[in-house]
Symmetry: C2
Amino acid sequence: MTFSRMSILGVGLLGGSIGLAVKSGSKQCHIIGYGHRPESLELAKTKGAIDEIASTPAEAAQGADLVILCTPVGTFGSILQEIAGSLKPGAIVTDVGSTKRTVCDLAGKLLPAGVHFVGSHPMAGSERRGMEAARANLFKQALCITTPTPRTDRQALSAVESFWNQLGMRTTRLSPEDHDRILAEVSHLPHALAAALMSTQDNAAVHVAGKGLLDTTRIAAGDAGLWRDVFLDNADNMRLALTKLRAQLDRFELLLKDPKGEGLKDWLDRAAQRRQSIAPPERPDPNG
Amino acid sequence: MTFSRMSILGVGLLGGSIGLAVKSGSKQCHIIGYGHRPESLELAKTKGAIDEIASTPAEAAQGADLVILCTPVGTFGSILQEIAGSLKPGAIVTDVGSTKRTVCDLAGKLLPAGVHFVGSHPMAGSERRGMEAARANLFKQALCITTPTPRTDRQALSAVESFWNQLGMRTTRLSPEDHDRILAEVSHLPHALAAALMSTQDNAAVHVAGKGLLDTTRIAAGDAGLWRDVFLDNADNMRLALTKLRAQLDRFELLLKDPKGEGLKDWLDRAAQRRQSIAPPERPDPNG
């Protein structure tokens, strides 16, 4: 690990898992944790995800080589403001937020010269929450998107990318704008749809729920506060994604009118091929 | 097994798995298989899912105590017509279709007096297809919905329900009308949405697909022909389900406009609670 002193702000599923993953690779890095739930911080310390508990973000960030924002995206503005004065020159700040335009803008405005911000979106997580669900292998083989801008320091970018690589992640780069537009479709829209689908079900339906509903709505069990922040921060792209989705639903409903269903079969076939192209059908569970 | 001679019409994932499951419980039942793909029938015989291959549905049904329709729902009319003349008195016919009004109507019209039809919907399956994916434990702990009507013979209904119970399924009863209305919401709508969601994604999005998109769209990889039949047969209920879903999407988009996001958090919270009420969050994969 290149960083000898690290600060994790927000010790939930992602922050806690980062601590565990770093420590599983090297004991050399000293990790300071901050969070608003004392019991999470204690648990993080007991489990060895952090070495030390700080009582404010500023205290946690002091002297750190790498500061990682792991709180909900709606809190990044105030956290960046709080830590700006206590960051050492050359410190690198990154984050794990699901939206990137706002945090990159805020960092540009709020962080002092000589401190480097690199936006990161490690695409790991689950519908489970908190330090209780944290695990060292959460990031293994998953993708981390970094979002450099023309202002991003290239050395800091490399350092952050190798950090994620050391946690087992692949990395790829997107501009903050491309990130938010693409993620609206590939991640935020599925989440909104899962929630809408759960809200559509009446009680009778829920009683006969099968694997199809369970799979399609699993992510709807995620943290509402965290996702509210994501949706609000990416509202413009969400509207575009919803418009595209509604067009597909309209197309489906139109195709339902043809009793021969040739167009419907084509539409379903193309969706099936597209789905198979991103991942082959799951192997059956031998114990299932 | 109460039935000593059984006919499976359509030896794909469900038909093949029924054969394997029956044979894993008892070798006493003689199973005749019919299907349009000779290689599936041969594989079914090799794997022990069927004892004998018939060249027509009528030949397969001859002398059977239980005939199970396992072909796509769009084929049920012609299959019932073909077998009607060769069923023995007292024979029981059931099916595994995902819609129930049409097949119950057709059976009432096409089957002779003295032959008993019981609609069944074993809610097992996967996005995998064909005899290749068949397995004896496919039905274990899953739910089978039977759809008796006032005309349904009660003894035949019991016999069919214990058949599914012997394959490891729980059973519950719904009228064909309730079944199709409820399943439109709980099963057919999720499938249509998964396909719409895949069709919405552009290529850039597919490259950064994470677990959220994979989970929500897994069922979209299913058999397009089979699902076309289901959607067309349940088109009226699909329209109602789409209307309910669109109302939720409209609500979501409206809630996006409030920058404080209180209503949005409530909406997401209710969906999360509803999702958690049908199944707790998955345990993390220890090898993940």
